[in-house]
């Protein structure tokens, strides 16, 4: 840590990890409800568990992105953060707002929450991933504006690097496209069409800029490869991301009432969306192979390489699997979508956040470069347990999805949704077991922050 004000990132990272734990616990509850339908019913119905699962995910992604920004932007700009107190204040506002929202989901029926927060004044609730009360959404906008102001001013007064500009561009895009969350017409087709401007243009658009910037930063720091080389890669990767990903939004416009030509635009462009992810894999391995130094934080490099591989598999390969419209006709809204969603989110966004946390946390906690070997080894175990179990979660859901598509939509005698669900229960059980392994990995991950802390820190073997 080179600048005192970077330390504000620590708060964000700790909260992110706590929310991550909540996300996984509720994921396991939902996984069990898939096979034991009345588990926790009616106290925590599936939809409530799902809101907590997805909303804690979104909030911890945002927390970690902000933490990453507060860490890397001052370092890249070679100056203190413009207003550290504002970053701390916004942290607490964001955390309290998120906590109250999740408590609202769990403590009162959703319709009551809508009433309490006066949703009828400006209805935005009850849409997938955007379930937050309107007042929470406004809070997110305020936090985002203060955050952008803070990092924007820091960049203005400091050195302008490509990493910082791409990071800022990604974060500004995140804030801008979130504004579509406030548009909710009665016309369902219009509602869905612009809902995707938030959801798709986040995860298959501007978030990838954030991902790329964080990855580039960590690779610059850990490999010692010339910044010019890494920045060139970064530009070309994010160029391919937006060139394919913006029109790629069309793969959501196949069956929601939009014109048929989207089947062409969406299929062709989204079929190219794996390209930037593949380039990212090549990039990360190339940089590590060409490293000019041995960085003692081995586990951070493991996370960085893991991100590059798993993002390609989850977002790239599993996305391609069902993105062509003739395939999507049968798989749309099945467990295939769930399979892709899990591995893509884990591979791209969970892992990049764990990469920057893994790189920055030892420094934020006062180490020179890295955690002691014992702590790193435990974190590596958590890497493999979480990553391998996520591969299995994805494979089991894919199996479930293929059978579901066939039995419900393709066979001689298409069967009803619930009849099909009963027949594929085995896959849901296996997914739940893999989920428990993921939880064990997460427990080890959290434990790695506490083990061997009095040992001397790892040094590079030169």
């Amino acid at each position: 840590m080179k600048y005192q004000s970077q330390s504000v990132a620590k708060l964000y990272f700790i909260a992110a990890i706590a929310l991550f734990a909540a996300q996984i616990l509720f994921g396991l509850i939902m996984g069990l409800q898939y096979v034991v339908g009345d588990f926790l019913f009616p106290e925590i119905p599936f939809n409530v568990a799902r809101m907590v699962h997805t909303n804690t995910l979104i909030v911890w992604m945002l927390m970690a992105f902000m933490g990453a920004a507060y860490y890397l932007i001052p370092e890249e700009a070679e100056t203190e953060l413009f207003a550290p107190w504002l970053a701390t204040l916004m942290f607490w506002i964001f955390l309290v707002a998120a906590g109250l929202t999740v408590a609202g989901y769990l403590l009162v029926p959703y319709a009551t929450l809508a009433e309490l927060t006066m949703n009828e004044l400006w209805p935005t609730m009850g849409r997938e991933f955007l379930e937050q009360p309107t007042i929470t959404k406004l809070g997110i906008v305020i936090v985002a504006l203060a955050f952008l102001f803070n990092i924007g001013m820091t960049i203005l007064k400091g050195r302008k690097t490509v990493v910082n500009l791409v990071m800022l561009l990604g974060l500004v895009g995140l804030a801008v496209f979130f504004l579509f969350a406030f548009y909710n017409p009665t016309n369902l087709v219009m509602d869905k069409f612009f809902w995707w401007w938030t959801v798709h243009l986040w995860v298959e658009g501007v978030w990838e800029l954030i991902l790329g910037a964080i990855l580039a930063f960590v690779l610059i720091k850990t490999t010692g490869v010339d910044r010019e080389v890494i920045e060139k890669w970064l530009y070309i990767i994010i160029a391919m991301t937006l060139i394919t990903g913006i029109i790629g939004t069309g793969h959501h416009f196949f069956w929601i009432g939009t014109p048929e030509y989207w089947q062409w635009w969406g299929s062709i462009f989204s079929a190219m969306e794996p390209i930037p992810f593949f380039m990212m894999t090549v990039f990360a391995f190339n940089m590590v192979n060409k490293r000019r130094r041995e960085h003692p934080n081995k586990v951070a490099i493991l996370w960085a390489l893991g991100t590059a591989v798993m993002a390609f598999l989850g977002a790239g390969v599993w996305g391609f699997l069902h993105t062509l419209s003739p395939v999507n006709y049968y798989t749309h809204g099945t467990q295939i979508t769930a399979a892709h969603g899990h591995m893509a989110f884990y591979g791209a966004y969970v892992m990049i956040n764990l990469t920057i946390i893994s790189y920055a946390m030892p420094l934020l906690r006062g180490r020179n470069a890295a955690n002691p070997p014992k702590s790193q080894i435990m974190e590596m175990w958590s890497f493999w347990l979480m990553t391998v179990s996520m591969v299995f979660i994805t494979l089991f859901l894919t199996g479930a999805g293929i059978l579901q598509s066939y039995l419900q939509r393709m066979g001689e005698n298409p069967q009803s949704f619930m009849a099909v669900q009963d027949q594929i229960a085995l896959f849901y059980w296996l997914r739940e077991i893999a989920g428990v392994v993921f939880l064990i990995g997460l427990v080890l991950y959290i434990a790695s922050f506490f083990v061997g802390q009095s040992d001397p820190e790892a040094v590079a073997a030169d």
Binding site: Q33, D38, Y110, P123, T186, A239
Partner: protein, 148 residues
Amino acid sequence: MAEAFTKSMARNIFYGGSAFFFLLFLALTFDTMGQLPNRDNRAALEGELGPVIAQGKALWENNDCIGCHTLLGEGAYFAPELGNVYKRFGNSTDAIKGFILSRPKDGIPGRRSMPQFNFNDEELTAIAEFLKYVSEINTAGWPPNIQG
């Protein structure tokens, strides 16, 4: 990468490419908005049942129905697709109302069950009319069959 390919070339591809394809996306969006009136069943929204359908959509949202069901294939995958439920239930809003009304308060032992929302008749009608409106959107032939 080859030395001939410089960072500023990469930067220009990024800015130029992103701007071009975003503008193309806007153009396609503009065209889509022009075509939607013939596809999105807005006649129903503008008809006399319009306010009822709007109330139905509000109830759909305020009870987070999307947290279990899919609607035109989007949502959660825990419960059946409802974009075509009106047709699956024999083109009957009464069948939809009856189903929602009949859900046991404490669920079904060992099985998934929809909660009992205690809607009154007006609310049930609104939800059913909303689902009827959705079923009449032109979705390019999706879902493949009546099972959704």
